[in-house]
């Protein structure tokens, strides 16, 4: 694979406005009641008036070792030549094995197509046209950065080199490609 697309979510810049979620719904015709992308807000933390929140992006983690692809009986869930985990709707029977197996719980059954659905970095639409994914383009605070880490000059490659970052549930060996820059402010979650 020549590309290794990733998204970086800077949790310091995020304000939890959900513009990304709305743009995603519009770009990908996601029906009401289900989402490819949400930003969950935790908090407030700290003492008034210095309160702050934590923001957590909920979307497909584009795992390099994707459990959904391993369990899919028909090969409907697959990793394409571009490395992006996607779904071939014509092969999906709706067994929900992938929805159950996803450790991040970001796959869902699309109530209109009856096919498993999730973020694919806008691969067939915006990415195919050479544009950024809808969530990245619309973000008012530039909290999202998308790019190819195999390109050393890309903004994501430089960012991940310079900034402390983390990924979710790495202990499961999934190698997720959504990187997060943790908020500088703390907060105790019991």
């Amino acid at each position: 694979m020549s590309q290794r697309y990733v998204i970086v979510h800077d949790e310091n810049k995020c304000i939890g406005c959900q513009a990304c979620s709305v743009a995603c719904r519009s770009e990908n015709n996601v029906p009401d009641g289900v989402s490819r992308l949400q930003v969950h807000i935790q908090g407030p933390f700290g003492e008034a008036p210095n309160l702050h929140f934590k923001y957590h992006r909920m979307s497909c983690q584009q795992c390099e070792n994707a459990p959904c692809v391993t369990v899919c009986p028909t090969g409907a869930a697959y990793i394409g030549d571009d490395g992006i985990v996607s779904i071939k709707p014509e092969k999906c029977v709706g067994c929900m094995y992938c929805v159950a197996a996803c450790p991040y719980k970001v796959r869902f059954m699309n109530p209109e197509t009856k096919v498993a659905d999730k973020c694919n970095f806008c691969k067939d639409t915006r990415l195919a046209r050479g544009e950024q994914p809808a969530c990245v383009d619309v973000c008012p605070t530039d909290a999202l950065v998308f790019g190819d880490t195999n390109d050393n000059n890309s903004q994501v490659a430089k960012m991940l080199l310079q900034r402390a970052n983390y990924q979710d549930s790495t202990h499961l060996g999934t190698k997720p490609r959504v990187y997060r820059i943790p908020t500088k402010k703390g907060g105790i979650v019991s």
Binding site: I41, T70, T74, V93, A101
Partner: protein, 314 residues
């Protein structure tokens, strides 16, 4: 405060529901009753070459149970009328695809075997037109039995591997789960064989096969209890998110299902019945009650594993 990010119902970790629990039960039952029927035929000491009531029961249960189970499975798909896609597309990294491949051979063989074993019954069930097929198949009986025995082991164990392959769920992602499902399938199979032999094939409950089968019940129940104990020990020793799953034994509706359904009914009633005097224990009523309790226990175990197992995520 309402959240601003929308409906979170899709993040519920419980994806598979009771329909899948029934499928897992039916697949285990089908495989278990066949394994026991064949095992008794091969390893019992009787010289009687006629078909035993137990074998007839097993031959009937195997195809019926797996078909009921598969019907549940197919209609639980979001695209039930596209189920054929799963028959032509295989990803052999997927336990489900391996299961489909095994079932593809297992199911026709269970039907063929039912025809062979029940060839004398076909006429009285108004299925006499199938007798020539049964006669034609008879010379192949030994190889069919051998292949079917191996496939039945596969069917019984694969339902466990299907769940244990998901490493996000600590209670499901354990090495012992396939063994537990295979053994509890044997337990359900023995119970269902008893029921059908008594109620449909006029067994009096005192044939040698029936006695051998009852002799197996105690070790099978102990194996089941050991595997369940090992499952929870594994969670306890693993700590962290896995140890959190132990809460399923003390809180919520699935704790009740476990202690009442699996332990009290599924293990308690069959074990306590062994303390009854022999003459009352071997009455038809007692045997039917114990068999129903075993079946209910295994069904409860499948529900507990499916729901409690998916409720805790690592």
């Amino acid at each position: 405060m309402n959240n601003t990010w929308g409906d979170v119902a899709q993040y519920d970790p419980v994806t598979w529901n009771w329909i899948i629990a029934i499928y897992l039960f039916m697949a285990g039952l089908s495989a278990g009753s066949l394994l026991i029927g064949l095992g008794l035929r091969w390893w019992s000491n009787t010289d009687d070459k006629s078909e035993s009531a137990i074998l007839k029961a097993a031959a009937l249960i195997a195809p019926v149970a797996i078909c009921i189970g598969l019907a549940c499975l197919v209609f639980d798909l979001t695209k039930p009328f596209h189920f054929w896609l799963i028959l032509i597309n295989y990803n052999f990294e997927s336990v489900m695809a391996i299961g489909v491949a095994v079932l593809l051979f297992y199911i026709p063989l269970t039907f063929a075997y039912a025809l062979m074993v029940l060839r004398d019954e076909l006429a009285q069930w108004k299925l006499g037109f199938l007798t020539p097929i049964a006669t034609m198949l008879l010379p192949w009986r030994k190889p069919i039995e051998l292949v079917m025995f191996v496939l039945a082991l596969g069917v019984g164990a694969y339902t466990g591997f299907l769940l244990s392959a998901m490493n996000a769920y600590p209670m499901l992602n354990t090495a012992v789960l396939p063994a537990l499902f295979l053994v509890s399938g044997l337990s359900a199979g023995a119970a269902a064989n008893t029921l059908v032999a008594l109620l449909m094939f006029n067994s009096n409950g005192h044939e040698p096969h029936m006695k051998t089968m009852h002799g197996m019940e105690l070790p099978v129940v102990f194996a089941e209890m050991t595997f369940i104990f090992m499952l929870f020990c594994a969670l306890y020793f693993k700590g962290g998110a896995a140890a959190m799953a132990l809460a399923s034994l003390t809180t919520g509706v699935w704790a009740v299902v476990f202690w009442v359904g699996v332990v009290a009914i599924g293990f308690g009633i069959p074990l306590l019945s062994m303390l009854m005097p022999a003459h009352s224990r071997h009455t038809k009523g007692a045997m039917v009650t114990v068999a129903c309790a075993s079946l209910a226990g295994v069904l409860a175990l499948r529900h507990f594993i499916i729901y409690a197992g998916q409720s805790y995520i690592s």
